[in-house]
Amino acid sequence: MSDPTPQAPPYRAEPLTPWLREIPAAAEPHMRVPARIFADEILWRQIAADQSLTQLVNTAALPGVSRCVYAMPDVHEGYGFPVGGVAAMRVADGVISPGGVGYDINCGVRLLASDLDAGAIGSRIESVVHDLSRSIPAGPGRQRQIAFTDADLDDVLRSGSRCLLERGLASADDLALTESGGHLGAADPAQVSAKARARAHGQLGTIGSGNHFVEVQRVEEILDPAAAEAYGLRKDRVTVLIHTGSRGLGHQVCTDFVRRMDAVMARFGIVVPDRQLACAPFRSPEGAAYFGAMCAAANFAWANRQTIAHAARGVFRRAFGEAGALRLVYDVAHNIAKVERYDGEELCVHRKGATRAFGPANPETPAVYRGVGQPVLIPGSMGTASWVLAGNDAAAALSFASTCHGAGRALSRGAAKRLRTGRDVRRELEARGIVVRCPSGSELAEEAPQAYKDVERVVEVVHQAGLARKVARLTPLGVVKG
């Protein structure tokens, strides 16, 4: 394979600020609203090099789309929608699109903090990462031996993290510090197919593959002491970041409904520029069925990350006793559709590879973070820093209260492997004192830091644009890769 040839951006975009550009709605006949891209000059050039802008412009064609569609600074080409894209459709007369959520429904990030001093861990990081890799199955398919029946699965799909309370796998504080309380009430397990249920078998409490991971980190730098204090983050303390989603179940839900909506679009008179944008009116039977299934898959993902957090707590307790207690800072989704209110209208906000960033005044921000804003968790690429940001109220008007979700890929998997072998990547990380556990050298190479955009630059754009503000920078000590 070869890299994309650098070429002129497919669309002319007017700079609105140093951090924001706009492609006007007149750029394509099918556009109903403008497309806005948060980026600086360097990120803009990276973004323009793949299909991101074309895919973003295509999302502006969706019926009922409101105000603008947005690309976050980590945006890259995906399938149908770009990854790092935000589009909000009116609930009253707009559509819902499974492709606007993505296959890994409620892929997201969970941050746990401890009072352990990173310096005190020292050489024990090797055994901690080893125990994490043994306690939290990684890689594709089913490995976790949590016995649950079909009825248990229904409970997970209906209740998300809530159903783990009575099993002793979650606490009330955990639920309070999870986006939406770790549970979407609109979930309809009856809309989750037998195939999706079959794929869920044995997958609760597993990381999966691709860019998913569990990482042990050190709080390297605090930039907003008041917000960091509210989040319980202190310099040089140890944190654990978990990145995974709804596994095969979510993928099958998306597969089922893209197919189903592709088949009914003509009946609703909907024409889209790319079949992967398949959609149906939110208020149609098909739209309601997908929303119910998507919420159920989102609940599965929250329960998955909660179960993994429980396992991580066990590892730290075994290694450090009570001193190793891990408390939840927050858990955010970055592949999801949510009904929210903006500009006086009820909208179905599709965030695909984008993180919600509610500010201090938003009633959905957890009570303990009111006055600060919700934590926004931005994982870097493997071996680079991750960021904790705080949501700003101003983001509601700027981006439907959305921000980036990571560094964002810049190179294809093939190009990444031509740059570095898995062995090279492992050696480079280990030379920096980062302990790595990864079942596949090939996947390690594909996820090399060089395959991603610069997370520092991405976060700087988010901060300068006013979408969220910097709170703390976390650097890796050890990682278990999916």
Partner: protein
């Protein structure tokens, strides 16, 4: 565009096309049935990534029907992804018969694994193409990985 990770059988070929985040596969075959079989072989190669697995001599039957022939390629790959994840079974040999305008019946056999194959999680409709070129059928499908 240059490609790697390809393969061929009975005049059919597949190759990987550049995509920043996912995997895009270009398939070519003299017939539609051949194209479907080649899609199965491409998925098998991506799923195994050099792993051998345990050979399973028995043939299994897989039937898929769709709205049209382009969609059928997506649905066919998705059916194989599902079987791989549920049964830890990756087919590598195919005998495909068209049973309708957008319907196929395939006999397939392959290998069994100890754990589900990595990489491909779904086939998508993203920029899905199916066209005739130089007397061959050519399709491109984006796979979610």
């Amino acid at each position: 565009m240059p490609a790697s990770g390809g393969g061929s059988s009975a005049g059919a070929t597949h190759e990987l096309v550049e995509h920043v985040a996912e995997v895009r596969v270009r398939l070519r075959a003299p017939s539609y049935a051949g194209l479907v079989a080649e899609a199965g072989r491409a998925l098998g190669a991506l799923a195994l990534r050099g792993r051998a697995g345990r050979a399973r001599p028995e043939w299994r039957e897989v039937e898929v029907s769709s709205a049209d022939r382009a969609a059928l390629l997506v649905d066919w790959i998705n059916e194989l992804v599902f079987l791989a994840e549920r049964d830890l079974w990756v087919p590598t040999e195919f005998q495909v018969e068209c049973t309708g305008p957008a319907a196929v019946r395939a006999r397939a056999r392959g290998v069994e694994l100890d754990e589900a194959p990595a990489l491909v999680k779904a086939a998508t409709f993203d920029r899905l193409t199916l066209q005739e070129r130089d007397g061959m059928l050519e399709a491109e499908v984006t796979l979610d990985v």
